[in-house]
Each structure stands twice: as structure tokens, then as C-alpha cells.
Amino acid sequence: MTRAKPEPVQVIKHRRDAALKALTAGVPFIQYLGIQFDRRGDELTAILPFDPKLIGNPALPALHGGVTASFLEVAAIIELAWSTLWEGMEQGQIDPSEIGTSPLHLPKTIDFTVDYLRSGLPRDAYARARVNRSGRRYASVHVEAWQDNRSRLFAQGTGHFLMPGE
């Protein structure tokens, strides 16, 4: 019995990175805030590089609460869309070359709650989201954000989302 030759690693990486880019590159507000995504296998880390326009309180200075909320919400939506896309790609139901050729259908936020734990410092911020429940119509996602220390969160959030296509 002969096995099919595995795909070269660079081909797989390129396909996955292109799929991730297709999710985020087309959204103007993600680009405006400067949010990037780091991918390790299927795990995503959202990165918000510091920029003076993100400041809310210049006296401290601290990141604007709305920036923190936006960052968490973006991290949650992209994680949710990505986890659905990943599964579809791995199971061969989604043709990666099709991604980005038609308008994106991202999950829609129903509600989002932000818990502000400490003030956001004028430094880069990071966030990782976890899909706690993903049904056909609704999903629940939790997201944590930190700056210098992974164990010292500066904010966390939970949101409910309406899945696209329903």
C-alpha cells in the first residue's frame, strides 16, 4: 500500500496564511487600528501595536476603553471565523483559493461585555480568544488581553455572535 506524498510544508503554510489574511485584510477598521494576527498552527494571537491615536486618557496615559473593546471584539470575531474556516479547509469542504474572491461573511455581534481589569498601558497589547460554544446559528466566545505579562490580564470579554448564512 502506498500513501499519498504529504504536501510540502511551505504549501500548507502559504495556504493557511493566505486564508487568514483574506479574513482580516478586507476590514477597514481592523487596518485602521493596526491589528495584526500571529498564527501558530490553528492558534491565533491578535496583536495591537501601540499608536498615540489609541490613547483615551493622556494624563495617565492609558488606552481608550473603546480601543480595548474594539480589540477584544475583533480578536473574538476573527477567532470564530477562523475556527470555522480551519475546519472547512481541513475537511476539504472549503477550497482555499475561493477565500477572499467573494465578499466576506463574518459573524455578527449580538452582544459583547468587556471587563476592564487594569488600565491599558501605552505599549503593544495581545489577545487570544476561545470559542466556548459554536452552534449552527449562535456562538459564544471568550477573549483575554494582556500586555507585558500573560498572567496579568488588562481586560477580558465575552460575546455572543450570530453565525453567517443564517
Partner: protein, 143 residues
């Protein structure tokens, strides 16, 4: 410009992110603030439709809420968001200005509670609403 206009203008320009998103105060006083944010192509969340990103709306709701705390008769010296829960009712109509009305409806010694609603040009159908808890730092000697 009236005094209140000057104060409102100074308040917004002191907050770089609020100024960057083009927010403006329409009215402010006694724990109630009305604030606007114009539609801008850079703040779009869905390029297929031109609908603003929920995060941009969240920024407006948070800013209006913080301003409502600051103008409460308790006269706090500063505030920060503890918690904000946002409900999204419908997509904001593209190319329309968003208006948020925030009300600081209860304060304790150290916490302020706020509710806020956002509408586009159709004021009868809200786009989003939020409730939040904020820290309240009272002036020294008045606690």
C-alpha cells in the same frame, strides 16, 4: 462659542482616540451627554455593505458614558470604565452619523452607573445600547 461649547470641545480634543474618530459633543450637563460620530470609510467593519464596525460604535458609547460620569453633579475628578456591556440591535446605515445619548443615572461613593443608546438618522430604531459601571474619583476632602 459658549462656555459649555468650549468645555465640550476641550474635553474631546484631550482624548486622542475620540478626536481621531471625529467625535463631537452636542450637549453636556447634569450627568447627561449627547455625542456624535460621523460615518468614515476607515471605520467600516463590513466592506461589502459599508456598515461601521461594532468596535467604532463601542468607542462612541464608552466615550459618551465616561463624559456623562464626568459631568454628573458629584463632580468627579476622574473616571475609568470598570465594565461595559453592549447590545447590537441592527447594522448602522452606511454614510449616516451615529448619535449616542448617555445618562449617568446613579452614583455611589466610588461607582457610577451609566446607560447609553446609539441611533443613526432614524432615531426611532436604535442601533445599539450599552450599560456600564465606571469608577468615580471624588475630589479630595469631599468623600
Amino acid at each position: 462659542m459658549t462656555d459649555i461649547d468650549k468645555i465640550a470641545h476641550a474635553f474631546i480634543s484631550a482624548l486622542p482616540h475620540a478626536a481621531a474618530l471625529g467625535m463631537q459633543i452636542t450637549s453636556i450637563g447634569d450627568g447627561v451627554v449627547v455625542m456624535t460620530m460621523p460615518w468614515d470609510a476607515r471605520f467600516v467593519g463590513d466592506p461589502a455593505t459599508g456598515v461601521l464596525h461594532g468596535g467604532a460604535v463601542s468607542s462612541l458609547l464608552d466615550t459618551a458614558s465616561g463624559a456623562a460620569v464626568m459631568c454628573h453633579p458629584a463632580a468627579p475628578v476622574s473616571t475609568a470604565t470598570l465594565d461595559l456591556r453592549i447590545d447590537y440591535f441592527r447594522p448602522a446605515t452606511p454614510r449616516q452619523t451615529i448619535t449616542a445619548r448617555a445618562e449617568c443615572y446613579h452614583v455611589t461613593r466610588s461607582v457610577a452607573f451609566v446607560r447609553v443608546t446609539a441611533t443613526d438618522e432614524d432615531a426611532t430604531r436604535p442601533v445599539a445600547a450599552a450599560t456600564g459601571a465606571f469608577t468615580l474619583d471624588r475630589p479630595r476632602g469631599l468623600t
